[in-house]
Symmetry: C2
Subunit: 131 residues, 2 copies
């Protein structure tokens, strides 16, 4: 039962985050992240550490993404247990016409004083060529 | 204390997995994975589902990786709680000369009947160009 409630809350946090991304609402995007969030993003750099660097990745993102563009989540899976959890999903990212490409996203969560926070995000697309 | 023991065991599983990768030991690579492992790998496809498809990603990998090549883990962080956990790390992948490129790796773990299993892996490199 506790795990069930944890999963419900984590799915809510994910949907709130996605809605904030679509709404270009930076405050909303950052609302449930830990200060030490570790981000592995689609474009460089290799990693972004801490909430300030995480926020910068969205400034870059919004050079491309405009209001009305596509950010659609599917295949969301959550594994929650005690005070750690992870979630996986696919996100269609693209223009307002619904065309676009699929981003694989993994999130790591920590429970701090009874609430869940996103402590890690990993966004990627398959590499086009091996090095 | 329980979390501490969980973290120790998870770090051991990660190191055993990495040693199996270096040793081209497929059985060792698969030793602590759940049957429903979800893999987001560096090259296509978008995702690989289940232990058989996960194994296939390594067959592809070993077209490039040869014994003596580099697969060096660093910056390993583990968050374990109850029966779910996640880990993040960077892995230098390359030739026997130690040159290579950095892969970002996230793993999701589930505790099943008292033992930890890898239920998710996400490997990626930053995209060279935005689509």
């Amino acid at each position: 039962m506790e795990n069930h409630n944890d999963e419900v809350r984590i799915r809510e946090i994910i949907q709130n985050w996605a809605e904030a991304v679509r709404s270009i609402d930076i405050k909303g995007i950052l609302a449930n992240h830990s200060d030490d969030i570790l981000m592995f993003d689609v474009p460089p750099p290799l990693e972004s550490k801490g909430i300030a660097e995480y926020e910068e990745t969205w400034v870059y993102f919004y050079q491309y993404f405009k209001k009305g563009d596509t950010w659609e989540l599917r295949d969301i899976n959550v594994a929650a247990g005690g005070d750690a959890a992870f979630a996986t999903m696919l996100i269609k990212c693209g223009g307002a016409d619904g065309k676009g490409f699929d981003v694989r996203v993994t999130m790591g969560f920590k429970k701090i004083k009874g609430e869940w926070f996103i402590a890690h995000e990993h966004h990627s697309v398959p590499a086009k060529e091996m090095e």
